[in-house]
């Protein structure tokens, strides 16, 4: 390697590597079976360094929570891999080996170029079921990982390109609706094959050494770019906290206590004051904890690239002895979907003190996971259906939060009502904007969703892993919190509210019973008394808030469809003074 790589070739190779990952993403989603992968894009594909598994490039359309986890799982495969030959492919879903929850199944494949190991290709796909106590894997009161499903250490599912039917049969014997999984397995493996073909073309064109050198250089430059962003933050220590309602077993909130220290061009994340490990499934494995911080930072600085260099200036001390550093056999099914979003919320809260103009109030931050499984007497077939839901995003300096935004850690669509009703014995009674749920602020939070579903026939069991039931998403700079999550089951005219509010498992549901869900609204940003009264009037006209809320929350007095300016000014002045005193 005589002279440094020229910067234009570097740009072109970066595009090339990115393209390889994007094509793997597309190939995976297009041919996958499970709607969770094909429709909600709960998957990710990337290229990893041959030595330590460090991230080289990752698809732009992948699920955000996987930005940091896959390099950890690739590393754990590298540490265990023996006798590698082309065509080998590992499957692994062990959460403690660089994962999230058991449903996130990783395929990791050594990539050989001209007979030599050049790098690793890997992808993650969320399987709809992985066995365990409840259909779908989100057991709200599991106390050990064994109850959450089948745990696979890194094993070669393909050897020299041929699927190992024995390993496959073990998997198939341990999961529900196994007959459809073969479609996802083939799609997941064929996406990596697409990556191999395209990466070979890139190497053929630019040469192995040049690409190798580019990978090193790109990493350095990504670190440089991240550092340029960090430099925007004043030196100091910033604290943020967030609470998980409960762990599903013990009805007490779990606290995430975060201190971010900014020094020079580095950020140091300290989570050591957080709650100890919990009994229930709200523990987070360390790779998921780290990834949550990475994705939160990327939400604040969306244009930074994703590769190992980006993470270099972000120093995360292992929070041993807390629920954010789960070790075997702690149950972890809530870490990817829920705890991750609370960690991100703590990051947002801390950074909003440092760089308020770039931040926003807290988003709903729960995936609203509601799964229901049973036997449909009409078809005599078992079914498992998942209803995910969004919530309001936080107000921000540029405007109000959007309504029904997806989880912070995902970028996925919900399944339409008509599709759900086609597939499952379920009828929606309503699917509506949740009025009043957006936290008041100069810019208000977006609104959550109110929906009710009725089981039409047969018997079923429902499980819920949601959050923000105890506390609504935090407002910022005087903005109010968004409305908290509400959940209840209506049985024979009686209303059942889960003891843990947002979490429960195997709740029996009979024909005619109705489940009601109200998802959180986003936090408000800035003092609600400074909100433009015309926007408050517009919000009342649209039925987002009622007239009393306009007066109580925003200090705006409406009279006959108009803003009473004088009364509003007087009211706001008095309340402003009262607040000052």
């Amino acid at each position: 390697m005589a002279q440094p790589i020229d910067p234009v070739t570097l740009s072109v190779i970066q595009n090339g590597l990115q393209q390889v990952c994007n094509e793997m993403d597309v190939a995976f989603a297009r041919s996958a079976f499970s709607p969770i992968i094909s429709e909600t894009h709960d998957r990710s594909d990337g290229i990893y360094h041959r030595d330590g598994g460090d991230l080289v490039a990752q698809g732009e359309d992948g699920l955000p929570i996987f930005v940091g986890t896959m390099q950890d799982s690739t590393r754990s495969v590298i540490e265990r891999a023996k006798d590698l030959v082309p065509g080998d492919l590992f499957i692994v879903n062990d959460p403690y080996l660089g994962g999230t929850h058991l449903m996130d199944v990783r395929f990791v494949k050594p990539f050989f170029y001209e007979g030599e190991l050049f790098c690793w290709l890997a992808n993650t796909g969320h399987w709809p079921d992985i066995g365990g106590a409840v259909p779908g894997g989100f057991s709200a009161n599991a106390t050990e990982v064994e109850q959450e499903g089948l745990r696979l250490p890194p094993v070669k599912l393909f050897k020299r390109g041929v699927m190992d039917e024995e390993i496959l049969s073990i998997i198939m014997s341990n999961i529900r609706i196994a007959d459809q999984r073969i479609g996802d397995i083939k799609a997941q493996a064929s996406a990596l094959a697409v990556g191999e073909r395209r990466l070979t073309e890139v190497l053929d064109r630019y040469g192995r050494d040049t690409v190798d050198e580019a990978i090193v250089e790109l990493r350095q430059r990504a670190a440089q770019q991240m550092r340029a962003k960090i430099a925007l933050i004043p030196d100091g220590t910033y604290e943020g906290e967030a609470f998980v309602d409960s762990d599903g077993v013990v009805d007490e909130p779990l606290r995430i206590a975060l201190k971010i220290r900014k020094q020079g061009t580095d950020l140091y994340f300290d989570l050591s004051e957080s709650s100890p490990p919990c009994m229930g499934p709200m523990n987070s494995v360390i790779s998921s904890t780290r990834s949550s911080i990475y994705l939160a930072v990327k939400h604040v600085f969306p244009d930074i690239p994703i590769n190992a260099g980006t993470f270099e200036p972000l120093h995360i001390e292992d929070p041993h002895g807390t629920f954010l550093y789960a070790v075997y056999p702690r149950p972890v099914s809530g870490c990817a979907a829920e705890v991750s979003q609370r960690i991100a919320e703590a990051v947002f809260a801390a950074l909003s003190k440092a760089i308020p103009d770039l931040l926003f109030a807290a988003p709903a931050g729960t995936s609203g996971n509601f799964s229901m499984g049973g036997l449909d007497p009409e078809t005599d077939r078992h079914f498992v259906c998942y209803l995910l839901s969004g919530g309001g995003y936080g107000g921000h300096p540029g405007g109000d939060g959007i309504s029904n935004g997806c989880s912070t850690i995902g970028i996925s669509k919900t399944t339409p009502v008509e599709v759900i009703e086609q597939r499952y014995p379920i009828l929606y009674e309503r699917y509506a904007l949740r009025e009043g749920s957006g936290g008041a602020g100069r810019t208000r939070g977006g609104f959550g969703v109110d929906y009710s579903v009725r089981l039409r026939r047969g018997e079923a069991r429902a499980s819920f892993v949601m959050d923000h039931g105890r506390f609504g998403p935090q407002g910022a700079f005087g903005g109010s919190d968004g409305g908290p999550n509400l959940l209840s089951v209506e049985r024979d005219g009686e209303r059942y509210v889960p003891p843990h509010l947002s979490k429960d498992q195997a709740v029996p549901i009979s024909a005619g019973d109705v489940v009601h869900v109200s998802t959180p609204g986003g936090g408000g940003y800035g003092n609600p008394l400074s909100r433009d009264p015309d926007l408050v009037l517009r919000d009342v006209t649209r039925g987002y808030y009622d007239i009393d809320q306009a007066a109580d929350l925003f200090g705006v007095i409406l009279e006959a469809g108009k803003v009473d300016r004088e009364a509003t000014d007087r009211n706001r002045r008095d309340r402003g003074q009262a607040a000052a005193e």
Partner: protein
Amino acid sequence: MHQDQAVDVTVGGIVGVDVGGTFTDLILLDPAAPGGLAVAKIPTTPENQAYGVMAALEASGAELGDLAGIVHGTTTTTNALLERKIARCGLITTRGFRDVLELGRRTRPTSYGLTGTFEPLISREFRAEVDERLDAAGAVLVPLDEAGVRAEALRLLDLGVESLVIHFLHSYVNPSHEQRAAEIAAEVWPNPYITCGSAILAEYREYERGTTAAVNAAIRPVLDRYLERLSNELTNGGYERDLLVMQGNGGTISARIVAEEAVNTVMSGPASGVMAAAYTAKAAGYENAITYDMGGTSSDVGLIRNGRPSIHSELELEYAMPIHVPMVDVHSIGAGGGSIAYVDDAGMLRVGPESAGADPGPICYGRGGDKPTITDANLVLGRLDPSSLLAVEGSASIEAITDRIAETIGVPLGLDGMAAAAAVLRVANNLMAGAVRMVSMERGHDPRDFVLFAFGGAGPLHAAALARELSIPTLLVPARPGITNAIGCVVADLRHDFVNTLNVPLENLDIKAAHAVLADQAKAGQSLLDREGAAFEDILYLRSADMQFLGQSHILSVPLPSDRVSLEELRTLFEEAYWDRFAVDLPEIRPVLVNLHTAVLGRRTAVPLSRLIDTSNACPRMEDAVISRRQVWFAETDTTGSFHDTPIYARDRLALGAAFSGPAIIAQMDTTIVIEPSNQVRVDPHGNLVVTI
């Protein structure tokens, strides 16, 4: 049938006129006119596109009274949507579901960053609910509250609503409630603007169907008013024949009925370009082509297979605005002549997606733009004619542009101005090639199996480099790349599309029911063709089935050979198509028939392409076709390149059958074609340039 109105090009001219964002292009094919052809290109008049259309007609010298037909492509509806200059719409929907149009599918505008905004097309105070409910099989669970419909319609009218949407859950399987509600509303509604979701799209997914219907309602009055103005102008000018309007599905429809399904005119411009490309490429002997139309802020990519543009029905016009009606599958990529090149904080050269737009525009415009664009780089490298700058008042000098590129790109990268400009082109071409590859890959194709068909103002400038990047062996540049969309209007057929959801596993499918759906779709198409009363020669039916394996959410469109397809054929066709697309076979899993689709085409008289060329200036000797020479930069390897003394040919001086090698620049009224040193060029009998890469 329709003999009374037959379009006969031997008795009158036919006009294709396409209104684009910047220019209104017109082509007149008239055997009576000298050369049989006239073209016009004049600035678009955005406030009322009709003025530009009339001005173009005048510029072409067309005698309105003598014309046999006018086919019109318009961006009126697309612009109205993007600028939200739309009619006030109201919604009547199933109780409990009025917020479906606002809640969407739970997403956010960008993968990263939690800010951004969204406003639904119909604001919440104009969305009403009535009692009614069907289940997924179409059975009535709650009967329609007819009095409620009437009351809500009156209330919405009172609120100043002009255009009404009726959208009920599961209407795709049973439209009776929607139809009855529309009848009731029509009794009190003062205009024809009532849109039923199921009438626009009989497909499941309430957000997509409802939004598609809302789009239709929002632009219907806008389109109606525009076409009325245009028709009046035309009638006053003496025009007596039918006005046809181009649709996004690549077919035309009579102006008399187009507004009912106004949503079909969205994206009609890009569709007509691809139609012209399909027509031209087929005549040149190529059935499979990737089309590349590069404009100022973005580029459009389309796919043609077996001589037909690929059709899809999942456009997302902007964030959370899905439009699910069948249209020519044109994918827009964020790179155009105005895309800005810059060096980011990691020291990496980037191009786009930010564009200099028209104002201030590229540096070369001299309107205060100081950020280098792709166009500026093309000028510095001699690929665009630097002397053309002199002709434009106030434009920047080549030196000034080169200096600015050197300053912003060259200095941080350690390159001089020329090398920096070359780097901009290299990164831009690489990026565009990647995007084109993505488009074809997402649709399951390898670009190497296609020819590249380049048109638009800037497409032919980059096409040879793109073809090289993509390993596409052949590039086709049509005779008149700058007015391709207008040509598309002239060659397009009348077309109506019908989609119905069945959603039945093949093992449970009553094939007779499927045949009945196809027969009904064909009949509906015939009766629409009759109603619009425009002339056509014969009817062609294109049928396809959207299929998937049980449990999947993506669908795959499978062309059907006839309306009497058997179950076994369906199964085989799907398995073959699935293998072609994904190289995966899944004997383990059951296939499902999701939708049936029939396109009914009223075929219009074929237009001979040879009329597009004017050979009066053609030079038998190549050297006479050279109008000048200049230094033009070409890449030699990935990292090196140099200036070559390059002949500049005038396009109209190239004789049919002429053959020559690169390097060359071919100059034409509205486009510049770059031929790289290793390319071979042949002018085919239709006047197309066939370039071997």
